[in-house]
Amino acid sequence: MIYWNSFSDFLAMGGYGLYVWGSFGVTALAMVIEPIAVARNRKATIARLKRQLRAESRSTEA
């Protein structure tokens, strides 16, 4: 079933290795970075909103 004869064949991509792996590598990197950025933004937003909420409830109690 597997088309390749060896792992080095697979990496070389018939001489197109730079172009193929350059495409897949950058895409994979983007698909790792974007979810991390979304998660970090979410954490920061929730922390900020919680701070605001606490500040508000303090000012109404006083």
Partner: protein, 248 residues
Amino acid sequence: MNDRFNLYRFASPATFYPLAGRLIPWFIAAGILFGLAGLYIGMLVAPTDFQQGEGYRIIFIHVPTSWMSMFIYLVMAFWAAIGLAFNTRLSGMMAQALAPTGALMAFLSLWTGALWGKPMWGTWWVWDARLTSELILLFLYIGYMALVAAIDDARRADKAGGILLLVGVVNIPIIYFSVKWWNTLHQGSSVNLTKSAMAEVMLWGMLLMALAFWMYSIAVALARVRTLMLERERHTDWVRKTLVGDEQ
């Protein structure tokens, strides 16, 4: 009317927020499964292309990212139209949540296209109709995000951004049909409803990868829209309850 089948209920952020949260893990799981299957077929099983050698394998991300870049824009324009017509709260947030992912897909489409063009055409870039209109799509995404970020009032930002999205939607058919309307260096479409230019196993690899990119985009956009909902609805009771409780 039975409440369970009332779609309008989900147009309210308070009900959509927890639903989106429950759906995200499923989209992630489906995305990983489709991605692994697509990579297995595309990179390990599919034979070489008789014209382009192994370089053709870039197609397994180039075509899905290009499709997504166009499709996400259409979905954003759809939400913009709904938002402008019915003044719904959720639609503007949906459009905003999709924009960065759409821009990323447009960038990846251009990036993989350049890496494909260099060995096949001998150049990273040409100002031909397909490539130029896709570049304009990337600029439309960036312009939309910059415009929305520049306007403080969220509802006005949605309106201005929505109009930009609706005007820019004319670019989508131009991208899609550019290879038919003009003589371009870019090859014609690889997939056709009646007969496909690709071998069946390659087609399967590409469709699985396309599904993986769909699932990825939905998961990321849902995660982003949930944060936007908290931010924009911060003065409502449901957000206060959500922030105080453990459910986030």
